[in-house]
Amino acid sequence: MGERKLRIMVAKPGLDGHDRGARVLARCFRDAGFEVIYTGCHQAPEQIAASAIQEDVDVVGLSCLSGAHRYLFPRVVELLKEQDASDIMVIGGGVIPKQDFQMLYDAGIREIFTPGASLDSIVEWIKNNVKLT
């Protein structure tokens, strides 16, 4: 009888204050009917993982434009796993060179969106790949 709503957290890990993209995405997820938790900038992976668990989100979307994604993204996945929450999906976006993709996939980042990805394609991907339990 109830309606199951998708919950997504948009988070910016590390020392990166460029949040225009993250805000645009948050707004676009809202318009797609998702419940969006936005954590703001300068978040430690530990803060992101703990918040994702407390908020019971289906997906964490990480945005990183600083170049530190090779450490920050896998660390969030690792922390979720440590806290028995590997069912929470992690995706990422930002300025990420192609040669880093495989390393991130291997670390458990499910999908990566880089500049040029359309908002619709991101929403579509989430709708198609997140199973509402």
């Binding site: 109830g2 709503k5 318009d31 419940e35 969006v36 938790i37 803060q47 703990a50 407390q54 019971d56």
Partner: protein
């Protein structure tokens, strides 16, 4: 029962999922709440309400820091509005509370209103119970940015804090009914700004017109200055926390706590009745298309809303016609 036990041990994942299932109206969630209910009623619940942007989340952040110094276990429920068009929501209150994210004794959960009126989400009452059963000692509830009439918060908390800022309107606003009446404590936030003294005077004269307060509790007006003047700000927050504690003591000493709890239980029973009686009927009416038929009839002026309601009541509530409905 297993889930209830996990929650009582403080398991965050089970608790937050239960809150989600309540939000989603999953029937199984209600039976878990049933099992938790006997273990609730221990926490102190503090509500913050006020217009958008008045600083409610920031105040909660500072109050959490204040109560953590006293080693209290904290819960916080933050409500933000759902879009009436898309059903989506941006829950942004949490941004202000992120310094507590890694503190395992602070559990913060954001809720979307799901278009409920009154400034809260329908799940808020049960979410408070969940945090209470987890052993949280102080629970903060933040409403959406409210206007004048969103007073639902008074049914869910022991102490209502109404947050206002200078520059929101002339003195006639202060004597209107509604949100200002439900305050147990007033905060004039951003009190370094122009107009704070005038606002203080207006509130004082509003309070001066009241003949008697229950338990003799005249709501104090606390001024909280700029966050960026740390010393003053922290002093103000300590004063606010003292007022909150004093209000609670006043409720206890004057035997008024029971009234608050009764108010809360009454509201919850109302909600449960809606959920168990009205909601299933509505659902069936909609599923069978009868609801649309009634709406069409109304549009053509073939009938009126009261007659419709009577017919529905006769059909679904089989016993004696209800007095309230049939008049």
């Amino acid at each position: 029962m297993k889930k209830a036990e996990k929650i009582r041990k403080g398991d965050v994942r089970t608790a937050t999922r239960l809150i989600r299932n309540i939000e989603n109206n999953i029937p199984e969630a209600r039976s878990t709440i049933r099992n938790l209910f006997p273990f609730t009623g221990k926490a102190r619940v503090i509500g913050l309400t006020g217009a958008p942007g008045t600083g409610k989340s920031t105040l909660i952040d500072s109050l959490i820091a204040c109560y953590r110094k006293k080693d209290k276990k904290i819960g916080a429920l933050l409500v933000d509005p759902t879009s009436p068009f898309t059903g989506g929501a941006i829950l942004g209150d949490r941004i202000r509370l992120q310094r507590h994210a890694e503190d395992s004794d602070v559990f913060v959960r954001s809720l979307a209103t799901r278009c409920a009126l009154g400034g809260l989400s329908k799940a808020a009452g049960d979410a408070v119970h969940v945090m209470d059963a987890m052993g949280k000692e102080v629970i903060f509830v933040e409403t959406v940015g409210t206007g004048q009439q969103e007073v639902e918060i008074m049914n869910h908390v022991h102490t209502v804090i109404v947050v206002i800022v200078p520059g929101m309107g002339d003195s006639i606003q202060a004597i209107k009914a509604g949100i200002l009446e439900v305050a147990d404590v007033f905060v004039i936030n951003k009190a370094q700004r122009d107009g704070a003294d005038k606002l203080y005077q207006e509130l004082m004269s509003m309070l001066n017109m009241v003949d008697s307060f229950p338990g003799g509790w005249r709501p104090p007006v606390i001024r909280v200055g700029s966050l960026f003047e740390k010393d003053i700000f922290e002093k103000n927050i300590a004063e606010l926390a003292e007022s909150i504690d004093a209000h609670y003591r006043n409720l206890v000493e004057n035997d008024l706590l029971g009234d608050r709890v009764r108010r809360k239980v009454t509201a919850e029973l109302n909600e449960a009745l809606q959920f168990s009686i009205l909601a299933p009927i509505l659902e069936q009416l909609i599923a069978e298309g009868e609801f649309d038929t009634l709406v069409d009839k109304l549009l053509k002026k073939e009938t009126d809303p009261y007659t419709c309601a009577e017919e529905v009541a006769k059909k679904y509530l089989r016993k004696q016609p209800l007095k309230g409905v049939t008049g």
